[in-house]
Amino acid sequence: MSYLTLENLHRDFGTVKALNGINIQIGEGEFLSLLGPSGCGKTTALRLVAGFDRPDAGRIVVDGRDITNVAPNKRDMGMVFQAYSLFPNLTARQNVEFGLRVRGKDRATRGSKAGELLELVGLGHAGDRFPHQLSGGMQQRVALARALAIEPRVLLLDEPLSALDAKVRVQLREEIRRIQLELGITTLYVTHDQEEALAISDHVAVMYGGVIEQMGTPSEMYTAPATPFVAEFIGTMNRLEGRVVDSTSGLVEHAGLRITIDAARGRQAGERVLVLIRPESLEVQAAGGNGDAGGNVLRADVITHTFLGPVTRVKLASGELSLTADMPPARASALPVGSSVVAHVPSEGVKLLQLGDDAPASVGLDPDNP
């Protein structure tokens, strides 16, 4: 049963279609992230839900009630903004109390609720500080407490962590998730950070060009991208554009390279497809060993190493073909830059997307930093 429904929402800004008919349903207590690059329409969608903007077409329903034309101050939506939005003239406690004061709650109720929420976000000791006396992370915690104080029907978060440094970002996103689960509050979260979205959401909706490309659980989004854009945007992916040669064996050809892929079985011969291989799926060994034998093997040279902590990202080149493989640093050090290697593409677990004859295989995102 859907608690928050975005139904066929359209929003144009001049000639730009910011939203082109998006449909989203979020169950009560669910955490959904809108994920996408800048300009994809995710913040526009959030602002429509908050009531700061009105859709050109479509409607927004919360708990069975159409709120499309309801003023923002009548919607009961708690919102945390990307910019630090605490009222500079009020202390942290007074900021948290603000929404309750507007609702005419008495001093005792306000005080106890504010104290309780400041404790919840770990800032019980900082209630008397002004925003300029708080760090960025603390300000966003207070902003979260302030949004929760009014017991909103839906919690909206518009890239609340983007101004924070990496470590605080990870800590705070975990806290947001903990608090969301503790309170069971329906949450719509906007971010361009795929790791953040995958880490804390029940469901993720990837947006691009004002439409939803795919919606699913974080695991589905990672393991089974439904469109070339999602494949390109979520995580790092090797993308080989090719054609099915033999539908019985699942043989696919890409620039002279022939590989057998389970997912290609049953496809029509000659069909244009996009082969998607995660960097961690590639098995890379030094040339001249036992790995040279067998199918799905590609001879290549090591071009670069990039140390990423738990893994080292190794770039391989074979003629015009370029591949990326992730492996433990110890194994990567045995394959120095310039050495010849063989890369084995497993036939299982490799995804295949059908491409129309005119459809682009890539939208041009940087594969390492989408």
């Binding site: 101050n73 630090y84 009222f87 603000f98 302030r146 949004a147 009014i150």
Partner: protein
């Protein structure tokens, strides 16, 4: 601080303080032969002069009226322009410059014509005609001070945060926006006060008896008391500004540091 800085500071102090000292010296003399320096007689004359208290009261109340009308008119207007009509900012800035460009003598003739149709309680009273003229005169000072205040805060985010918490437009303006532009509003009020307390041309041509008119009259007729009057008016104006500052600070002490929402 470099030694040369002290020299420049000293020169500036002399530039400002020397006229004040000369006025003080002048105000302590008496227009009688053989009276030794110094006497407070001129100050006594001013303090016991009914016209002095009457005119300074009129000018001070006019200043307060100008400040209140200007703030009520300009704060919501500039807020709305920042929030919804940012393209209008240059237009309003241009309009705000007009009182600088049009000489007061031209302005008063125009205003007397424009307001000629208004009823006597407006046209014949300083609280009506003169206050309207002073609001126009104070417009540039008010606008540029308030505009700077609005630019120092994130108007959009604060407004949206307030609305998402359930606040109406008036609540957002009065409880969120105004407290955070208090310093700018205070600065604008000081300037309006100073302008009204010293405005001569419009009041004179419109035949209203304000403090600058009285000052001019005394200056023309009695030299030494004029010095005392000048210094006393100076002190009273500064006292008024200080009280405005204290009132503003007292209510907004916690919000004194509003370097911006970001």
């Amino acid at each position: 601080m470099a030694p040369s800085a002290y020299v420049w500071l000293g020169l500036a102090a002399v530039y400002f303080l020397l006229p004040l000292y000369a006025t003080l010296d002048f105000s302590l003399k008496e227009n009688k032969a053989g009276v030794p320096c110094c006497t407070l007689h001129n100050y006594g004359w001013v303090i016991h002069n009914g016209d002095f208290w009457h005119t300074i009261k009129i000018s001070f109340l006019l200043a307060l009226e100008t400040i209140v009308i200007s703030l009520v008119l300009f704060v919501p207007t500039i807020y709305w322009v920042h929030l919804k009509l940012p393209r209008l900012r240059p237009v309003i800035a241009f309009m705000a410059l007009i009182p600088f460009v049009v000489p007061p003598i031209v302005m008063v003739v125009g205003l007397l014509k424009v307001f000629a149709w208004t009823p006597g309680w407006f046209y014949g009273q300083p609280w009506g005609f003169l206050a309207a003229a002073y609001v126009i005169l104070a417009f540039p000072y008010m606008y540029f001070s308030l505009d700077a205040g609005f630019r120092s805060i994130d108007v959009h985010t604060l407004t949206e945060a307030s609305q998402s918490l359930g606040a109406s437009w008036p609540t957002t303006l009065l409880k969120v926006i105004v407290p955070n532009i208090r310093t700018a509003a205070l600065g604008a009020s000081f300037l309006a006060l100073a302008i009204v307390m010293g405005e001569f041309t419009i009041a004179n041509l419109a035949a209203f008896h304000t403090f600058p008119i009285f000052l001019q009259y005394v200056n023309e007729s009695q030299g030494f008391p004029a010095g005392a009057l000048t210094l006393l008016s100076f002190l009273i104006t500064w006292a008024a500004m200080l009280s405005l500052l204290l009132v503003g600070r007292k209510r907004g002490a916690r919000g004194a540091v509003i370097a911006g929402a970001r």
